[in-house]
Structure formats: C-alpha cells, structure tokens
C-alpha cells in the first residue's frame, strides 16, 4: 500500500511539471498532502498515539488544507495572474523530471543497506530535485514558494523512512514545514505584494555586482 501511495506521489510530480495554471499546482500540493497522510499513517502506526495524531493532523490539516488555501488567498490578494510562466516549454520539463526520477532510481542501486527501504529514498530525492527544478525554471516569486513546498514534501517522505526509530526527526521536519510556510508565505508574499507591483523574479535583480 505504501508503495502505491509513493508511486502516486511520483506521478503527481510529473503532472506538476506540465501544469500551466497556478491553481493546478495548488491542487497537486493538496493532493500530495493527502498522500502523505496515508503514507504517514501506514508507516508510523507503531509510534505513540499522541505523536501519531500530531503528525497526521499536520499532514491533513496543514499540508492538505491550510497551506493550499493560504497560497490561494495570497494569490488573490496580490492579484497574481494564473499562469505559471515557465522559462522552458512544458514538454522539456516533463523529460527533465523523468530523467531526474530515472537517475535517482539508478543511483539507489548503490545502496546496500537493507534497513532503509529504497523506494523512500528514490521518491524523496526525486521530489527534492524536482522542487529545485521548479524553482529555477518558473518566473513568478510565488512559484518559488510552491517549489519549496514540494521540497518540503520530499523531505517529509525521507523522514518517514526512519520515522519508526526516530519520531523526533519527523517532528523536526514538521517544524521546518511550519517555519517555511508561515514565514515565507505569511510575512513575505504579503509584503512583496505591497511593495512590488508586479510579482516577478525580474523585480529582484537590483542587488548585484
């Protein structure tokens, strides 16, 4: 079951690569939150109940509902246009993301450790690099934040791989998540919307040598 959910997660990355509208990105993020809820539930069933409730609460409420709603609110408030405006055609993006996934898949053959299941490693690392790829190839500042949230999801999956032995690390990951979403989104996109009229990365090219 975990494998099915993880594979669904990977497919959502491919879909994200070809998505045009920002609303689609938000929906995918929300969907990923639900998948993470399922994975966390199966993976962490053995840890103590209070901690499990906390983790599940975080995935379903924060990742799947609160953050997508919040991003949506930020976009409406700053009147961000709905197109993601990639620098690179979506078809090329699809190929590159596929290459990322295949490369991590091949790399994972180097792991001789039987304790860690390889699929977590593959999905987490390819999510991480896909997130980075989305950050560098999209024009809007808000897509940077969305890419960062994708990276967060990847890190969360990786932390689930050791979640049973070290639940503390899962909680730390959640701390990171809250730091990122509240801080990056809450304070900054509001401010950026107030100060800069057009929310493009091109606006952020004054500081240079």
């Amino acid at each position: 079951m975990t494998n099915v959910l993880l594979i669904a997660f990977t497919i959502s990355l491919l879909y994200m690569g070809i998505a045009h509208r920002l609303l689609t990105y938000i929906k995918i993020l929300s969907f990923q939150g639900i998948l993470l809820f399922g994975i966390a539930f199966i993976q962490l069933i053995e840890i103590n109940a209070a901690n499990l409730t906390f983790v599940l609460f975080e995935t379903i409420v924060v990742k799947a509902i609160a953050i997508p709603l919040f991003v949506n609110h930020v976009m409406k408030r700053n009147r961000i246009t709905r197109d993601a405006e990639p620098y690179i055609p979506n078809f090329v993006s699809l190929i590159i993301i596929t290459i990322i996934i295949i490369t991590t898949f091949i790399l994972s053959n180097a792991i001789s450790d039987t304790r860690i299941s390889k699929i977590f490693f593959v999905v987490a690392i390819s999510t991480f690099f896909t997130g980075l790829y989305i950050i560098v190839t999209r024009k809007k500042i808000i897509t940077h934040v969305l890419g960062y949230l994708v990276i967060e999801n990847g890190v969360f999956i990786l932390s689930l791989a050791v979640g049973n032995e070290m639940p503390v690390l899962v909680n730390l990951g959640i701390l990171l998540d809250i730091f990122a979403s509240v801080f990056l989104l809450g304070i900054f996109v509001n401010r950026i919307g107030d100060v800069l009229k057009d929310v493009d990365v091109d606006q952020l090219k004054n500081l240079r040598d």
């Binding site: 450790d113 991480f128 960062y148 070290m166 990171l176 990056l184 900054f188 004054n206």
Partner: protein, 475 residues
C-alpha cells in the same frame, strides 16, 4: 545557567519588542549585555559541563561566546548611533533591538548545543531574526535582500535537515540518543560510509550559507549589504562563526572515519572556489559594504584550507576565525560613519576621507592592513600557520594558486581603500559634511588592538582553549 540565560534573553527580547519608551529600551539592552557578560564568564568557569541535556560549553563554544560578547557591546553602541542619525519611528527601533537580542541569543545557543538537531533549530532561528534586521530600512532593495536571504537560508536549512536524516540512516542502531556529537564521535568508525558521505555533502552545503562559502554564499552578501552596518558587522563575524562551529563539529566526527580524505577534498574544492569567487568580485565590486562581505568569503575559504591542511592548520583555523571576527566587525562599524558623511556606499562617490574624518580614516587604513593579513595583524600569524601547514601537507601547487589570488585581493582591496582615503571625491558638496565624533571610533581601536594582542602575544589561557578545541581532531 544556560536555561536562565535563554529564558532571560528571549524574555528581554520580547520586552524590547513591546516597549516604545527610550529609557526603558536603554535599560533592557544594558540588561541583556550584563546577562551576556555574566553568561560568558559563567561558561568559562564551568567548561565542559552539560546543561539542559543539549547544551555543553566546550572550549570552542567558550571561545566563540567570548568573541560574541566582546563584539555585541560595540554593536549595541553603534546601533544607537545609527538609529539616532536616522530618526526612525519607535516601532521599527523596537523591532530592531528585539531581533538583535534574539539573534545574539540564538547564536549563543547554536554555539553551545552538543546535538546536531539542536544546532539546526537555532540556526533556523538566526535566519528568522536576521531577516528582521535586514528588512529594517523597509524599501524595495532591502525587501529584495531579505527575500533572497530567507529563501536561500530556507533551502540550505532543508539541505541540512536532509543531511541529518542521512546521518541517522548511517547509525548502526537507530535511536535519537545517538545523534549528539559526542556519541557520533564515539561511534564514528561504525557509521555506514555511503550514508555518511551523503550526510556530509548535504550538511556541509547547507551550512555554507551561514559560513559564506561557495555554493550558498550569495544570500549572505546581499544581507550584509542591505542590513544596517552594526547588524552587518554581526552577520560577517558572529553569524559566520555559527556556520563554522556547525561544520567544525561535524567535520571532527567525519575525520575519525574512513571518508576523511574524501571529505577533505570536498572542503578543499569549496574553499578554493570561495577564494577564487572572492577575488573575481573584489576586483569588480563598486560597493564598499559588498567589498567587505566578499573579503569575508575569502577569509572563510582560508579557514577551511586550515582544516584541510591538518596539524597546525586546525589551531590556525580556530585562531583565524576569531581574529577575523574582530577585524571584520570593526570594518563594518566604521562603514556606518562613511555612509553618514557621503550618504552613499559606492566607491565612485567617496574620497578624501582623511580630510573629513581623520580618526575614522586611521581605523580604515589599519583595518585594511589587518584584513589583508599584513603584520602586525594577528591574521598574519594565523594565515602564515595555515600556509605552512598546507606546505607540510604537500599542497604546494594549491598554495601557489591561493597566494596569487590573495595578492590580487590585496591589490583590489587597497585600490578601493586608497581611493576612499586620499583621492578627492567628484561632485561632493563639502558644506554639509557631518562632523563625526572621534569617540565613536574607540571601540574599533580596541577591537583592532585585540587582534594584535591575541595574534602576537596570546595569553596562555587563550592558547590552551584553542588547543582543547582541536584536540579531538586526528594529528
């Protein structure tokens, strides 16, 4: 005491945030400084005592806490000078001091923590508090600087977290109790090599954002440029030391494993590229503050070379990072005065500084000699030790490249500093020049004096502390 300090300092920070009264603000800030001094003395007297499970003041932490205490006093003083020249509104002043106190506190906690996850949490806190300082001016460019800083630091903190996860994979038997540095050090030979390599790459790359090395150095440059100069002084001294502490502690663990040589190569590449990038930008940069920031990149590259060289290099690396903090913070403090005279940071708009502010220009001249590691600067001693240990470790060709690059840096740095001091400025109206009180430069003289003293004639306790700090590294 750590508990009292953390609670007290964060409490003071919260009070500063809500307080709008000037006198109360003075009282709270001096309260914090007293607490900081008391804390530094207490930790010096109680070395290697673990408190609250996660905080242990080992020799390295004590050295850096002392450094921070010494720099924090002039930083607060120059903040008052800076704010009084700007007629800021009380709310911004309150946020400024609250975040500065919180920044210093979280830096202290990051120095002391003996658990990599705790270090990680406090490094995250330094990002939050530093961003409030960078945004102090509240204009487009400071917003850009803040956004870049926060975003790059968020990415790098994620990298560190991934590194910590890989580190936990590498442990032979699971359990969070195994993540403190002392336990890692004990179990070092048993760690799984594959995961440890990945962990090292990710943790090292993540912390380079704080230390200011290639690849994540970029955000730090903008931050030091856009932050008010007293805050910039903190960023390029004590905040860089946070990155150093984190990398140093993890490197100590790695140095006892079979990937030590490989890790050295990774650090070597990052260090060499940092010095190279610093050289390229130093010759090109036209903004005085950014020039200082690139000089910090160069110095952190040299420090990392010390780690790579080993032997005497370990000692020299710790000495170098401490002395560099003093030199660089005094340069940034002095930069505040330059800005008040010329209302510009560009090298094109400045000149004849020696005419308008003789005391300040003496500081500038001295600090230039000190930052480029010319005698009698203490940095000369540490750099000399690093180079000789590189020579002993058979890195001769590397050494030649580094020395050539440093020569270019000295030329570029000197060209700009002498332009500032001696050539006459273009289109500059002399009538409205602000008179700078020479007393404002006293703190810089003290800091620079300390560099000479600690470099040329270090007290025995200081030497012992550094030797203790590097004793866990293989010789």
């Amino acid at each position: 005491m750590t508990g009292i300090y953390l609670a007290g300092a964060f409490g003071l920070s919260a009070l500063l945030f809500f307080n709008r009264n000037k006198l109360t603000n003075y009282l709270l800030v001096s309260g914090f400084l007293l607490l900081q001094i008391a804390f530094a003395i207490y930790e010096y007297l109680h070395i290697n005592v673990t408190e609250l499970n996660y905080f242990c003041a080992d020799s390295l932490a004590v050295l850096l806490v002392m450094t921070l205490t010494i720099i924090s006093i002039p930083a607060m003083y120059h903040s008052y000078v800076y704010l009084s020249s700007k007629q800021d509104n009380p709310r911004h002043t309150a946020i400024y001091f609250a975040s500065m106190v919180a920044l210093l506190t979280s830096i202290n906690a990051a120095y002391l923590s003996n658990h990599i996850a705790v270090t990680w949490i406090f490094v995250e806190l330094t990002t939050l508090t530093a961003s409030a300082l960078i945004y102090h001016r509240r204009n487009n460019r400071s917003l850009e600087g803040t956004w870049k800083y926060v975003f790059v630091c968020a990415i790098s903190i994620t990298l560190v977290f991934i590194g910590i996860l890989f580190l936990s994979f590498s442990l032979p038997e699971g359990g969070a109790a195994d993540l403190p540095f002392s336990n890692l050090l004990k179990n070092a030979p048993d760690l799984n090599q594959f995961w440890l390599r990945l962990a090292f790459i990710f943790i090292f790359t993540g912390f380079t954002a704080k230390l200011g090395l290639v690849p994540m150095y970029t955000a730090g440059i903008d931050a030091k440029d856009k932050a008010p100069s007293p805050a910039g002084a903190l960023f390029s001294s004590v905040l860089m030391n946070v990155g150093f502490v984190a990398i140093f502690r993890f490197y100590t663990v790695v140095s006892h494993t079979s990937i030590h040589r490989w890790a050295n190569h990774v650090i070597l590449i990052a260090a060499l590229l940092s010095i190279f990038v610093a050289t390229v930008y130093m010759t090109k940069v036209k903004n005085i503050k950014r020039m200082f920031a690139y000089s910090s990149i160069e110095h952190s590259g040299i420090v990392m070379l010390g780690l790579v060289a080993g032997g005497l290099g370990y000692y020299a690396a710790v000495l170098h990072i401490i002395l560099h903090s003093f030199v660089k913070s005094s340069l940034f403090f002095q930069q505040g005065q330059i800005y008040r005279i010329y209302k510009s940071k560009s090298i094109y708009d400045v000149g004849s500084y020696i005419k308008y502010n003789p005391t300040g220009s003496i500081i500038m001249l001295l600090a230039f000699f000190f930052a480029t590691a010319m005698p009698p600067s203490g940095l000369f001693i540490s750099e000399f030790m690093i180079f000789s240990s590189l020579f002993k470790a058979n890195y001769l060709s590397l050494l030649i490249v580094v020395i050539l690059l440093l020569t270019v840096i000295i030329w570029a740095f000197g060209k700009n500093i002498f332009k500032l001091l001696f050539s006459s400025p273009v289109d500059f109206n002399e009538d409205k020049v602000e008179k700078i009180n020479p007393a404002e430069s006293i703190s810089q003289f003290i800091l620079l004096g300390l560099v000479v003293y600690l470099g040329l004639n270090p007290p025995q306790e200081f030497v012992t502390l550094i030797q203790e700090a590097v004793k866990n590294l293989p010789h």
